[in-house]
């Protein structure tokens, strides 16, 4: 287990380091001068030269990379080009708000998705199972940005129950005002993922129910509830953990879209803002932070999987 942890931590560090090279390389090696991009097409040559000197853009690339990397390691993300503030605190505030959105969503996805999947598997072929299977088809295929439009149209415009966009901190609007702004973004984020998780839980649960150990448990005369809960469920949930980790990647993609539509001031909206305004320190920092979060989430999922799966826990290799 210790060796497994060490290996995973080493690969986490490798991914993050490689990501810094990738982000830095793509931003700096692509054709076009960075200063030119920041100042726009009508910039004078002097203005470009001044900015290049100010940003240290005339130094060799490896010097610039090292300056940026060592800054990152000290928690310094550089100065935002458009906000007159250091990029670090901007990124952290946005991260906290996105984490709320993502945290609430992933918990809902896990609870609702797994319950629906188990229900479908246990009542396989019933009317509710068939209805759920059909609904899953539909929910997986509808793009998040179109869900946003539909829920805004329905709940904000026609019914007028909830605010369409924006964000209120708890300090301003109280818990209710804060929660009201979360309902539509969260429901948009979870719809597709619930369909995904419930579908996979259903198939792994069906596989478990068909297995020999469940047959053996039934043959012992155990009540069906115990057979399902103690014997089938723990095995069926192992693949679900991996699926949830994959879904965090999809969730991050969804957050970029959903935050933009709902004007929710999180990391995704910040990233799109930074790209639109060519705020490079903010953009590069945001990408590194998102990669780090995603990699950490995957690490947690791997550890959880190893802890719950005896075949790995006892000392096999994690593929």
């Amino acid at each position: 287990m210790a060796g497994f942890l060490l290996r995973r931590l080493a690969s986490l560090a490798f991914v993050l380091l490689a990501m810094t090279v990738l982000v830095f390389g793509i931003v700096h090696l692509l054709p076009g001068s960075v200063a030119h991009m920041i100042l726009g097409e009508y910039a004078t040559n002097e203005a470009i030269a001044t900015l290049e000197a100010k940003l240290g853009l005339n130094d060799p690339l490896y010097v610039q990379y090292w300056r940026w990397l060592s800054g990152l390691l000290h928690g310094d993300f550089g100065q935002s080009l458009t906000m007159e503030r250091p990029a670090g605190p901007v990124i952290l505030e946005a991260l906290a708000r996105s984490a709320t959105l993502a945290g609430v969503s992933i918990v809902l996805v896990a609870i609702i998705g797994v319950s629906l999947g188990i229900h479908s598997a246990v009542h396989k072929g019933s009317a509710s199972d068939r209805a759920l299977t059909l609904a899953q088809y539909f929910f997986i295929a509808v793009p998040e940005f179109f869900w946003c439009i539909l829920v805004i149209l329905f709940f904000a415009v026609w019914l007028g129950w909830l605010p369409a966009t924006g964000y209120t901190p708890i300090s301003d609007g109280g818990v209710l005002g804060w929660a009201k702004h979360l309902v539509l973004p969260v429901s948009t984020l979870v719809l597709g993922l619930i369909a995904h998780v419930s579908r996979l839980t259903r198939s792994s649960m069906l596989e478990a129910i068909d297995s020999r150990y469940v047959l053996a448990a039934r043959a012992k005369g155990l009540p069906e509830r115990i057979v399902l809960r103690r014997h089938a469920l723990p095995n069926a949930l192992l693949p679900t953990i991996t699926v949830l980790a994959v879904d965090i990647g999809i969730l991050i993609g969804g957050i970029v879209v959903v935050e933009s539509v709902f004007a929710y001031p999180g990391l995704g909206r910040m990233l799109v803002y930074a790209i639109d305004n060519q705020d490079l320190p903010l953009m590069m920092g945001g990408m590194i932070v998102i990669t780090a979060v995603y990699a950490l989430a995957n690490l947690v999922a791997d550890i959880l999987y190893a802890v719950l799966n005896p075949r790995i826990r006892v000392g096999g290799t994690a593929a």
Binding site: Y137, F138, P143, I149, M287, T291
Partner: protein, 282 residues
């Protein structure tokens, strides 16, 4: 492809057929769009702003008085181009890399597969954003970005399939005949690797359309006045209360296309992947 699909005794399931027909119809409409559109999709008419659907304008008009039906028709080719173009790019780069990694065990494989591990550990949208962030957006850049995002998945699959095939007797026989690496990869491995690759490709098209239209929605795809469906939905947002049809029309078309492509992908998987075919009855 046609050889395995036309094999005797192999009937196309009904859902797969329905999916194929819908994708085919959308494809035909995308090609015929310029000729059958009732109006010029870029024709401004301030007198006709934000008109609801009517006999003259089936899907209504947008904020510039443009006919939404004509715009939806002229925009269909973007989604198809992004879905199939990006998937073709990921195949064209990923499959050779995967075959190479399977055949040249050692440092070639090590370099390719570590790169794949790295790129797979990034969320797809982030990778797409990174590629598009610092360049001028446009249709071909979006296709390229989406294609590159899915290269690692294709590489990993192609390598796994090739490794399995390399252990087969017919490859052993080719080696014993003294055939070269090129002959073995192209004449022995590739023809037998198609079924799983086709399945993955068909499923990948759905994700490519989704990712491409999401990037366009964020403003990183074709630029206005293009009638790409994701972009049309993004542009409809300020008018959602007074003229919801501007966004609903392209959105529903996009959903129909995605569901149809997904049905085709899953149908092909059930048809071509014998391991999963048996499990359907379990």
């Amino acid at each position: 492809m046609s050889a395995s699909l036309a094999a005797p005794g192999l009937r196309l399931p009904r859902t797969l057929l329905v999916g194929l027909v819908i994708v085919g119809v959308i494809g035909v409409l995308a090609v015929l769009g310029p000729w059958i559109a009732p109006y010029d999709p870029q024709d401004f008419s301030m007198r006709m702003r934000l008109k609801p659907p009517s006999a003259a304008h089936w899907f209504g008009t947008d904020e510039f008085g443009r006919d939404v039906l004509s715009r939806v028709l002229s925009g269909a080719h973007y989604s198809l181009a992004m879905g199939f173009g990006a998937t073709a790019i990921s195949l064209a780069i990923g499959v050779p890399l995967g075959l190479l990694a399977a055949f040249h065990r050692g440092w070639v494989e090590e370099v390719i597969m570590r790169g794949v591990d790295l790129l797979i550990s990034l969320p797809p949208v982030l990778l797409g954003l990174l590629i598009l962030a610092v360049t001028e957006p446009g249709l071909f850049k979006t296709i390229l970005a989406v294609g590159l995002v899915y290269v690692p998945i294709m590489t990993r699959l192609a390598r796994a399939v090739a490794l399995e095939l390399l252990a087969e007797d017919f490859v052993e026989a080719a080696r014993a005949r003294g055939e070269g690496a090129w002959h073995i990869l192209v004449r022995e491995i590739l023809p037998n690797a198609w079924p799983p690759l086709i399945v993955e490709t068909a499923l990948r098209v759905t994700f490519a359309i989704l990712l491409g239209s999401a990037l366009s929605f964020l403003g990183l795809g074709p630029q206005p006045p293009a009638s790409e469906w994701g972009l049309m939905i993004a542009e409809s947002r300020p008018f959602i209360a007074e003229a919801p049809w501007i966004g609903l029309a392209p959105g529903l078309c996009l959903c129909l296309l995605l569901i149809a492509v997904n049905v085709v992908g899953e149908g092909l998987r059930d048809l071509l992947d014998p391991r999963l075919r048996g499990r359907g009855h379990g």
